[in-house]
Each structure stands twice: as structure tokens, then as C-alpha cells.
Amino acid sequence: MSVLKCRDLRKSYGDLQVLRGIDFEIEKGETKVIIGPSGSGKSTFLRLMGLLEPPTGGKIFFEGRDVYTSGLDLNIIRAKIGFVFQEPSLFRHLTALDNVKIGLKCVLKVNNDEATERAMEALKAVRMEEWANYYPAQLSGGQQQRVGIARALAMDPDVILFDEPTASLDIELTWEVIDVMRDLAKRGITMLVVTHEIAFAKEVADEISFMDGGKILESGPPDQLLRSPKTPRARRFLTRLLGGI
């Protein structure tokens, strides 16, 4: 059964239709990657799947249950869906460690000692354990982003959504984040990733989807989609993207 699934998902802001009917699902242990031009609705799609905004049409299922009609507590599901944002969005008054602990303590009601233990474990997984007591302002963008990943990871979520986690970073800092994400994918963490790091996608993705104009135009295994895209728009996009490399 899929962890997260949507059917005919739609979203409009006023007159602007941003998502025009998306069908998508991700199963346990899978890593799926979404690519597409800027403004195509990728972030919006992820925010909807993370239950951070309600859709204006269609349905979202978490472990088979329609999240908006089955009377589930949305916050409980949100706790089971990790989210890593494009901009490092750490809580600026908390140390790295406390950033990772806060969800455990507030939402999962884990006691302090256990929260510390789990948080340190998560920080280790992103190679940030030595920075546990630093504040966000004292960390580089890449380090902040890794703490953001640890914050999501520590909640032991069923799936983690990544919205272009390296897009706001310098090239050197990109690798340290990508390396961490590769580790997670290999550990079998279920991941839905919007990214244009094609090498990463090629290596770990079970499937890549191409999004444009609020729709998923095509999906396929990395080799097929990257090498021989079927739609002209995907072809044009990939030529530009890969041409630069």
C-alpha cells in the first residue's frame, strides 16, 4: 500500500490555477524525484502533500485513508510526514539540538532524555553531532539544511518531502547535503524530492516525474526519462538542464 497518494489534486490561488489535476503515489522505501521548470507548481504540490495547505480539489491519502474526510487529526499525520524546505527554516532561538528535539517533545510527547538521545542520533545521521549546541546563525547554509533534515528525520516519519533543499546553497555546500540525502535513500527512508541535482536523481531515484504547468507530464525510471523523454517539453527542459553540465 502506498504511504502517500493523491488523486486529481488541484490548487488555485484566486484565478490562478497552479495545480491542474495530479495523480501520484509513493510506496514505502521508495525514492521519487520531481523535476520541472520554475513556477510549474512543484513547491505547491509538495506543500499540499505535506498537508501544509489544503487543496482546492482532489484527494490526498495517507496510508490509504483520505486525510481530509476521515476525521483524522492533521497534526498527527503531519508529524509522520517530514518536510525539508528550500530555505533553511530552523527556529532561530534554538540550538541545533533543540531544533531537532522540539518536535519530539511538543508533538510526540517524548521525555527529555529520550528526545536528546533520538535527536543526537538524527544529528549523527546528517554528520552534525559536533554542532549540536550551536545556534542557526552560527552555522553555514549547508549545515543548517542538514540540521533541518535531522529535525524531520528524528520524528521517525513514514516519508520525507524535500523541496529543492540545495537550491539556495553554494556549490561546495550542495555536496554535503546531497551526500546526506544519498545516505538516507540507501537506508531505505521513503523520500519525495524536488531537485535538479541530476546525478543524485540518477543514482537513487526509483522514478523521476517531469512537471510543467501544474501537471505531471510524464514519469519513468531515471535512465528512460533522462535519456529519452517522450514529451517535447520534457525534452526541451532536459536539453537545457543537462546541456549546461
Binding site: L52, G82, F83, S89, F91, R92, V107, P136, Q138
Partner: protein, 222 residues
């Protein structure tokens, strides 16, 4: 020296000044935080109400506010109240209106991305407020809040118009009794000056202890 005979009165007056300042600041803090939250998260009617409250108390003199509350509340409600109660309530309302502006700026300085991050962890609105927004707002508000402490502390001298025996009121009557206004007011000024300077030093010390790297930006008062 002649002032020694009056030192006891002066100390009492100064105590009253301190009490009124702290009551006003404390009540104003609660009112200010609540109205800032109402203004940021509330509906239209609530925001209009808060706007009127703030505009009235920030736009008119404390002296007139004191007279208004001191005289009008007994007339309207039939409840007698003394200068102390009237003064306390008015100072709280006055300070709350200013503190609202400072806290609003500070709350808005907690960027949207952090609110979304809190939501993604499954935190409720109240948890987010308590663990993310307010702790940051309280730190960011510190510089403006220091100003409010000084400004409210000094404006307690306005309590003279309702006859509350704080430092300025007491000094005025001592000056009249002793026929030595020059010395009396010099001394009074000195007491205020030492008090305010010492408070600023002490507050600075407190602030350096709660400071967090990256959070020392001051909020624009709005």
C-alpha cells in the same frame, strides 16, 4: 541639611514611583502581547478595535488619560476608586498601547518559513506560539522594551494631576513647604537620573545573558 527632615517623604514618593512603573509595565506587557497577537492573527473587527485602542492611548497625553479615568469611571460605574487604582489602570492601558507596537514588530520578525516548519512537525497553533513565536519575539523586542521602561518610568510624574504621592508630587509639596524649590528639584532630578541610569545598566546585563546569536536584531516599532 534641611532635606534630611523630608528624606522619609522622598523615599516614600520614590517607592510609589517604582511601584507604579512596575505595575504599569507588567500590565502593559500582558495587554501589549495580547493586542499584538490579536492584531496579527485576529479577525477584522478585533483588529479595528485594537487599532482604536492603540491610536487613542498613543495619540493623547497621559495627563488627559489620567484625568479622564480618575474622574469618569466613578461617574459611569458608580464605583469609587482612588488615585492609586485609577493611576495603575491608566498606566497599564497606556503602556499596553505602546508595547503592542513593539511586540507586533517582533512577532512579525519571526518569518513565515519558521511557522510553516512548525506546522510540518505537527505543532498546533498554540504550541507554535508558545515555543517558536513568543520566545523569539521576547528577545527581539528587548531594545524597544528598554525604551518603554524609561519612558513609562519618567511619565509616572504625570500622576501628579490626580494627586498620587509619587516622587514628583512629593517634591512639589516639599518645595512649596520649604521655599527651596531649586535644591528640591535638583535632588528630585538627580534621583530620577540615577534610577534610570542604574536600571539601564542592569537591563543591559540581563539582556547580555539571554542574548542568542542572530537574534539581536531590533524590531521596527510599528
Amino acid at each position: 541639611m534641611f532635606l534630611l527632615d523630608y528624606s522619609y517623604l522622598i523615599v516614600q514618593g520614590f517607592e510609589m514611583t517604582l511601584v507604579m512603573t512596575f505595575l504599569g509595565l507588567g500590565g502593559g506587557l500582558v495587554l501589549g502581547v495580547l493586542s499584538a497577537l490579536g492584531d496579527v492573527y485576529g479577525g477584522r473587527a478585533l483588529r479595528a478595535l485594537i487599532g482604536a485602542y492603540v491610536e487613542f492611548f498613543r495619540g493623547s497625553p497621559l495627563i488627559v488619560q489620567l484625568l479622564l479615568f480618575y474622574f469618569s469611571v466613578p461617574t459611569v460605574t458608580g464605583v469609587r476608586w482612588d488615585a492609586f487604582t485609577a493611576g495603575t489602570v491608566t498606566l497599564m492601558l497606556n503602556s499596553g498601547a505602546y508595547q503592542k507596537g513593539y511586540f507586533k514588530g517582533a512577532i512579525e520578525a519571526v518569518f513565515k518559513d519558521q511557522l510553516l516548519a512548525a506546522k510540518s512537525l505537527g505543532m498546533t497553533f498554540w504550541q507554535t506560539l508558545r515555543h517558536v513565536v513568543l520566545p523569539q519575539a521576547f528577545r527581539v523586542v528587548i531594545p524597544s522594551w528598554t525604551n518603554e521602561y524609561v519612558s513609562l518610568g519618567l511619565s509616572t510624574s504625570a500622576l501628579i494631576v490626580i494627586g498620587l504621592r509619587e516622587l514628583t508630587t512629593v517634591s512639589k509639596s516639599i518645595a512649596a513647604q520649604t521655599f527651596k524649590p531649586l535644591q528640591v528639584y535638583l535632588l528630585t532630578g538627580l534621583i530620577y537620573l540615577i534610577w534610570i541610569s542604574a536600571s539601564l545598566k542592569a537591563l543591559d546585563h540581563v539582556y547580555s545573558r539571554v542574548r542568542i546569536p542572530g537574534l539581536e536584531v531590533s524590531a521596527e516599532a510599528s
